[in-house]
Symmetry: C3
Subunit: 161 residues, 3 copies
């Protein structure tokens, strides 16, 4: 799976060129905040592959959820993370750098090929933020997740200005 080339002068234009729109930022699912800004960094809570208030991708990747759907789940969770940035900063142009992408994958026992799946988040970040989207990455695997969602994504974002 691969994203087409994104076009546009701003991050939002590049997102639109991919046929994607920023969804409403999701509320937290517990007694915490979706994001916090401290010391020039935007911290974020986990973003699930929600769309229209429902988890779109469920189940274990490599099992009932194919690796291709896992890739799309990571892409959708990353889109929800972008929605949190927009909600926190008002504009994606205030992103100085996506520092770190954390992913938790819900995986079938025996499935260990995590990197191409998490590329679903990484490719979107790189397409939308270009140089500012060059990030480090950390992946965790789990064999069960809340709401049976296929993945969870968090961005660590350096803010400009």
């Amino acid at each position: 799976v691969q994203l087409p080339e994104a076009q546009g002068a701003t991050a939002e234009e590049r997102l639109a060129s991919l046929g994607l729109r920023i969804p409403p930022a999701a509320a937290a699912v517990g007694a915490y905040e979706p994001w916090v800004i401290a010391q020039g960094i935007l911290y974020m809570s986990g973003q699930l592959p929600w769309a229209n208030g429902k988890v779109r991708y469920t189940g274990r990747i490599g099992g009932v959820c194919s690796p291709e759907d896992g890739y799309l789940a990571c892409q959708l969770s990353a889109l929800n993370a972008i929605a949190q940035i927009k909600s926190a900063l008002g504009s994606l142009e205030r992103v100085k750098r996506i520092i770190r992408v954390e992913g938790v994958l819900n995986v079938e026992p025996g499935f260990i090929d995590y990197p191409p799946v998490l590329n679903g988040a990484s490719h979107l970040v790189s397409a939308v933020f270009r140089e500012a989207g060059r990030h480090t990455r950390m992946v965790y695997a789990s064999q069960e997740m809340p709401f049976d969602c296929a993945c969870l994504i968090i961005f660590w974002t350096e803010i400009s200005g």
Copy 2:
């Protein structure tokens, strides 16, 4: 499970109003430090549900450890995290913001309702630090943990002054 309303002008007074006292800060269980301060942030190692030198809550949440005990385990680990803040900063009044709460839960296969359990830590943080306690959160699940403890909690804390 829910905490009563905390009363008091300082974080320590609010903690006392809940009937809680700050325990001695626990030593590390390996070749590392309980906390490090860098760039205005207090970093912390994992805090277990210790009391008086013993792990009070053991076993898998959703199995031999009920979700209610899991909530209390997260609360106790968060109390131990508060003890590290006190040890590092001298006073809880130097907390500018609890940025991020990380929790690892020891869970029974099939138990996926993590958010209400981790609220045991979040409710305490919010009651004690009020606005400064509005935090992001990251949860991991494991099916075995060192000392068979029910959970582990870490705070990321922004320091004032």
Copy 3:
């Protein structure tokens, strides 16, 4: 398992005194960067127990991989993390503090004695960086990992100058 005392005036000399050399920094295994610098911190992606382009330690710790080999796997991954620092900063003398060591261990069910294994990374950090190497730690366990590697290590590093 324990490291001998390291000798030397610089971090690289102390590493050499242990019979270790900094290997080439490993490339990322997905669409991300090995490291990013932001706000005075060097962020890093996961470092595996590679040597000469191959994973040297595979399998579950406490199973086909002994705890002693797990210790050496953490040491080797930490050496690869030191290689990323050298690649990013040019000199290990620019390390102000190793803030946090994150480890993911590939573990056999029933094996929970993680701290001595992760000490393989911590002992090397302390020997090489001395006071600047006094770090916090976070450990995660998994029962499967990409490339079947025995562990993964990440450093969070505060930069001087």
